[in-house]
């Protein structure tokens, strides 16, 4: 018996990059986050070989959940081919051997920055959202220890006041993305900077969503079939972006969230933000048989 027979061979890095103790901590914090929907759980947040603010929180969760059979999709602003999405996808696959996909329907694990795909996610899928700032109270209370206490007390008066002020000043709620939302009737969370268009997709969704902020070291979660209600006054309805009538100039897809592309003549044209949905629409139009999942929005209306 020698040391070498008792131990594993030296390897330059652990499977899935993170070592077992880091993964164990993240698993525990994810369980806690699922147990108290919308409540931010602090975690150590290890450094990973990517800069902070570039999806390191989402990456740590993905690295913890991944195994060689997990099919992974990575998107940034809706697009699979965005430079950072490509970089994260390559890294995930390199350190885990997991297969990758662009098709939402084929993915087991979707890591995303700022979008939820347009096709409905299923119970067997997990969505990991990258979160730059996990604290919805930051605009009204930059101090994290005070904000933590406010969550404990469900002290959200200032949050509501902010909405009141916006309506008084601008005639409407001016929050763009990251629309603060009440989870399970208890914790206000930021859904990460997804557009307002995507927030209703989280409400009573079939899939699990894990939101992870690497730089700020917080994980929160929306478990399947959980209420997610944007903060709105009873008599001022929630409004998603007015994209329901727009048509993608590339694919002809209509009724989804779009990227606006300014034109030389001063006008704008639009392309669908969920790039793979656009690709599938084109394929179908070209006569290739293409499988589409049911979409959350139909004819530009949330179904």
């Amino acid at each position: 018996m020698s040391l070498s027979t008792l131990t594993k061979d030296w390897e330059p890095m652990s499977y899935g990059f993170l070592d077992a103790s880091a993964k164990r901590e993240i698993r525990r914090k994810m369980l806690k986050a699922v147990a108290v929907p919308g409540c931010q759980m602090p975690y150590a947040s290890r450094e990973v070989p990517m800069a902070r603010g570039w999806g390191t929180g989402g990456l740590q969760v993905s690295l913890t959940l991944i195994n060689p059979k997990t099919t992974v999709k990575v998107i940034d602003q809706g697009a699979d081919d965005s430079v950072n999405a490509a970089s994260i996808r390559r890294f995930l696959s390199r350190v885990s051997g997991a297969p990758t996909t662009l098709d939402t329907l084929d993915a087991d694990l979707i890591q995303s920055r700022h979008r939820i795909p347009e096709e409905k996610l299923r119970e067997d899928q997990v969505l990991v959202l990258q979160v730059p700032n996990p604290e919805p109270l930051r605009p009204v209370q930059p101090n994290m220890s005070i904000a933590r206490q406010m969550h404990a007390d469900a002290d959200y008066g200032r949050m509501w006041l902010q909405l009141y002020e916006q309506i008084v000043r601008s005639g409407r709620v001016m929050q763009g993305a990251s629309y603060p939302s009440m989870v399970n009737g208890r914790h206000v969370m930021t859904p990460s900077p997804i557009p307002r268009w995507d927030v209703p997709k989280l409400h009573m969704a079939k899939h699990l969503t894990i939101l992870s902020a690497g730089r700020e070291k917080r994980i929160h979660a929306v478990p399947p079939y959980t209420r997610v209600e944007p903060l709105v006054f009873d008599d001022v309805p929630y409004k998603v972006e007015e994209h329901g009538d727009l048509t993608c100039f590339r694919s002809g897809a209509k009724g989804f969230f779009m990227n606006e592309i300014p034109q030389d003549d001063g006008s704008s044209t639009y392309e669908i933000s969920d790039s793979e949905y656009g690709v599938k629409t084109i394929k179908q139009a070209e006569g290739t048989e293409t499988a589409f999942g049911e979409s959350w929005y139909q004819d530009g209306e949330m179904s």
């Binding site: 993170l18 150590a44 450094e47 603010g53 700022h114 900077p193 997804i194 969230f257």
Partner: protein, 351 residues
């Protein structure tokens, strides 16, 4: 297919990295060794901020990143975090530090004496341009003192405590392996003392200086006097599973104690880091000195300075603004246009 036009992402990022690396050229063991030899203070700074003491790895990180400091520290931290923690060394007292330089601004002379050691403090900062004309800059010979100063020195603060000038912090008897480790657990506030000192030890030098300097200029309540500054080597004493204690070598450390008068006593601020980095230690100790009772949101409040001197986080967040943000931008644009439309008077349909 219409979408192919947008699919240049993967190739582009690959090539941009190649472009950066090809400008660096080949990285060899020799280059790494040369960096290590030529720039010990840079190596020290990087090791301190990375909280990883390994001169070779630090030199490699610098070589690999072309001296982009934030990147070098990140590479080291990402490597460090996956390494197993084999052992926790024994705590070490100030009087056990093998001291190269030790000065106090509080007293003209102190027990053990002032030891200037190696420093550029009193040098004339003149660029040695002759080197570029082919001459070699040869350092002058050091004349050793007749009587070498003692390698181990007592602590100034201990003398002050004995003379009832200050109260030393209560001795923390936590066993070494139970000391909270900020790299393995989240930093929460009010922060644990160990987390505060560890975070300061890892702080980005420029950030610690900026906030520390703000406090020194008057945005803090306490004006620091450097009670004791040390550049030293610390013995790493570890315990064999069979119980034998032995030295695993020495590491360079620096530490600063600053004091300020509060009532009839002196108040103490402390910081230490791996490697020799005087500016960071004095700045960080000044922040520590000012942090008690600091107003929420002020530069000397613990939460404020610990978050904002974390170099990997701050630099990462800063450069992340280069990432596309068109979804968030689109979302804001929609709200702006809609609000504007509401304000512009539209002709009301006739009833």
């Amino acid at each position: 297919m219409a979408y192919v036009a947008t699919r240049g992402g993967e190739r582009a990022i690959e090539q941009s990295e190649r472009l950066f690396r090809s400008a660096m050229g080949e990285i060899t063991e020799d280059r790494v060794a040369e960096i290590k030899k030529a720039m010990p203070y840079l190596i020290d700074r990087v090791m301190g901020e990375a909280s990883l003491y390994d001169e070779d790895l630090a030199a490699l990180a610098l070589a690999q990143t072309g001296g982009e400091l934030f990147e070098a520290v990140l590479v080291l931290r990402a490597w460090r975090t996956t390494q197993p923690r084999l052992h926790v060394a024994e705590p070490i007292g100030q009087d056990e530090l093998f001291t190269h330089r030790r000065i106090s601004a509080a007293f003209k002379d102190i027990p053990g004496g002032q030891v200037l050691g190696p420093t550029l403090d009193y040098s004339h900062r003149v660029l040695a341009t002759e080197v570029l004309n082919g001459s070699t800059y040869a350092p002058e010979k050091v004349d050793a003192a007749d009587k070498p100063s003692p390698a181990y020195q007592p602590s100034v603060a201990v003398w002050q405590a004995e003379n009832d000038l200050l109260d030393l912090p209560e001795r923390d008897e936590t066993r070494p392996e139970d000391i909270p480790d900020v790299t393995r657990e989240p930093l929460l506030f009010p922060s644990k003392r160990a987390h505060t000192l560890q975070s300061l030890a890892r702080a980005e030098t420029g950030g610690a200086l900026a906030l520390g300097y703000a406090a020194m200029r008057g945005y803090g309540q306490a004006h620091p006097t450097v009670n004791e500054l040390r550049l030293a080597e610390a013995e790493i004493t570890v315990t064999h599973p069979k119980g034998t204690q032995f030295s695993a070598g020495r590491v360079k450390v620096s530490q600063a104690e600053v004091v300020s008068k509060k009532g009839e006593k002196l108040e103490l601020g402390f910081a230490a880091t791996m490697g020799w980095n005087e500016v960071k230690c004095i700045s960080a100790a000044t922040l520590d000195l000012n942090s008690k009772g600091a107003e929420k949101g002020s530069a000397t409040e613990e939460e404020f300075y610990l978050y904002h001197t974390e170099g990997v986080e701050s630099s990462g967040f800063c450069i992340h603004f280069k990432l596309p943000h068109y979804v968030t931008f689109q979302s804001s644009l929609d709200a702006m246009r809609n609000a504007k439309a509401k304000k512009s008077p539209k002709p009301e349909p006739a009833e």
